[in-house]
């Protein structure tokens, strides 16, 4: 029910982000969504892409500190308030969301987030008939 997100350690100096993007370009990987959690000295670059496993291997070959993290991606209607509704469902079930980002894809909103309890989150998604996006959905979209 989860999708693979690439979590990449990036130092705050010029040339580090482009190194990652160039490696992905060389490998023909398409980025679907991304965000950077930055601090004064470094950032954690999170991204959803086509073929995350292969992307991870290619980045490792390029000496990038990269890992795969399991995150949820759920589809919501592109209307005001839908994100609030979705997050409320999880918080009412006592699930904490560590971080979240979103993007629009073909008229639908996609919420990407990591929780502190993936098992519980999965049952909440099933119980509430939320539409979760799978890895194959994403490669199809890209």
């Amino acid at each position: 029910m989860t999708v693979h997100q690439l979590s990449i350690f990036i130092e705050n100096r010029s040339g580090t982000l482009i190194k990652v993007l160039e490696a992905l370009k060389q490998a023909g990987i398409q980025i679907i969504a991304s965000t950077i959690a930055d601090t004064a000295e470094y950032g954690i670059y999170r991204l959803i892409c086509s073929e995350p496993m292969r992307a991870c291997e290619e980045l490792k070959k390029a000496n990038v500190a990269v890992a795969l993290s399991d995150v949820f991606a759920i589809e919501i209607d592109d209307q005001p308030g839908r994100a609030a509704d979705a997050v409320k469902t999880f918080s009412e079930a006592g699930i904490s969301i560590a971080y979240m980002y979103s993007f629009l894809l073909r008229g639908k909103g996609i919420l990407v987030f990591r929780t502190d309890d993936n098992g519980k989150a999965a049952s909440v998604i099933t119980a509430n008939n939320l539409k979760s996006i799978s890895e194959s959905d994403l490669s199809g979209l890209a």
Partner: protein, 435 residues
Amino acid sequence: MIWNPNKECMSRDEMSALQGKRLHKIVEYVYHNVPFYRNKLQELDIRPDDIQTIEDIKKLPFTTKKDLRDNYPFGLQAAPQSEIIRVHASSGTTGNPTIVGYTRKDIGVWSECMARCLTAYGVTRNDIFSVAYGYGLFTGGLGAHYGVEHLGASVIPAGTGNTEKHLKLIRDLGITGLACTPSYALYLAETMDKLGIRKEDIKLRVGAFGAEPWTENMRKEIEERLGLKGYNIYGLSEVMGPSVSYECQIQHGSHICEDHFYPEIINPTTLEPLPAGQTGELVFTTLTKEGMPVLRYRTRDLCSLMPGTCDCGRTSVRMGRIEGRSDDMLIIRGINVFPSQVESVVLSMPEFAPRYMLVVDRVNNLDTLQVQVEIRQEFFTGVFDTPAAVDQLEKKLAAKLKSVLSIAAKVQLKAPNTIERSQGKSAHVIDKRKL
């Protein structure tokens, strides 16, 4: 077993008395026989009779490597040439080598210390012992050789080179002991693999390794591959040669032959003696040497001393592992910091690559220390998807550094392979304060 329990297990009071008596004698001896020392003592207004107990050693001047070089070749020799029966020379990276002459008595003392060392390793006259240190101007080969003979074991003067023949002898003669550098021991193991000789085919059981820095991991690897127990041996030609100190079966520090070589630990900046247990520069005074005695010779090696009776029964003071060289020392906020201390902490955490950089700066008149380390790719896992997880790892290292260095260091995590690989210790430091 203990070769000379009389000396190695002497009570502290007796040892101090003996050291004091010998110190007085050696000061009197150099005062009358070495103009260099007579001038130095006269400058300080010290007469031999002012030195009566071992505590009086604090009054004496230091001797440095530079003093030895400046007095090349025989300026510090105390015995007449007719009494010198051997001369060794230590390699100098710059300028003149250091020439050390030994009298017959010196060679006797050295052999005695080597016999104490080998006995502490469990070597007996039934052993066949191969010496694979360089024979020649370097003290390792002949020093160990004479010690094995003095002990009464059979010595095989293998020397370095012709490793395949050496291995054949190790196997065919059933050689049980080996003295060489730790790196040569690893080279032997590699050659064994190449020749298809297994450790079950040979009878090596004891190794005396020294003359270069080595780690516990190297010890484990050598022991595993050669099937022996590896012991540390320490020495320097300016003081004598190998066997100035040696490990025992307990392997918690190396026992110093302190009835012949009196050790002190000093603060390399203030030159003040440091209390036992503190790390500083190791200084030796030869108490019985005739050829070229030295007073308070600064080794530049950093370590600490461990007094007290060892579980092996010896009372002689022990020295800890060499932690670095005093030439590499940094003074940050008044505290002495050695890159090697940072190195030992970084190496103890598998999350980081064995590369690091110390960046020292001065901000608002306050020294700052930043330690840069690289995360290992295989340790960067999915849990590191938030800065909080990275911060936690940085804090873990910072806490360990603080406990070792006694000052706070800011840790900066770097991506793999971004810190330059360096040759030599000083290359690990960027000191921006000098600008």
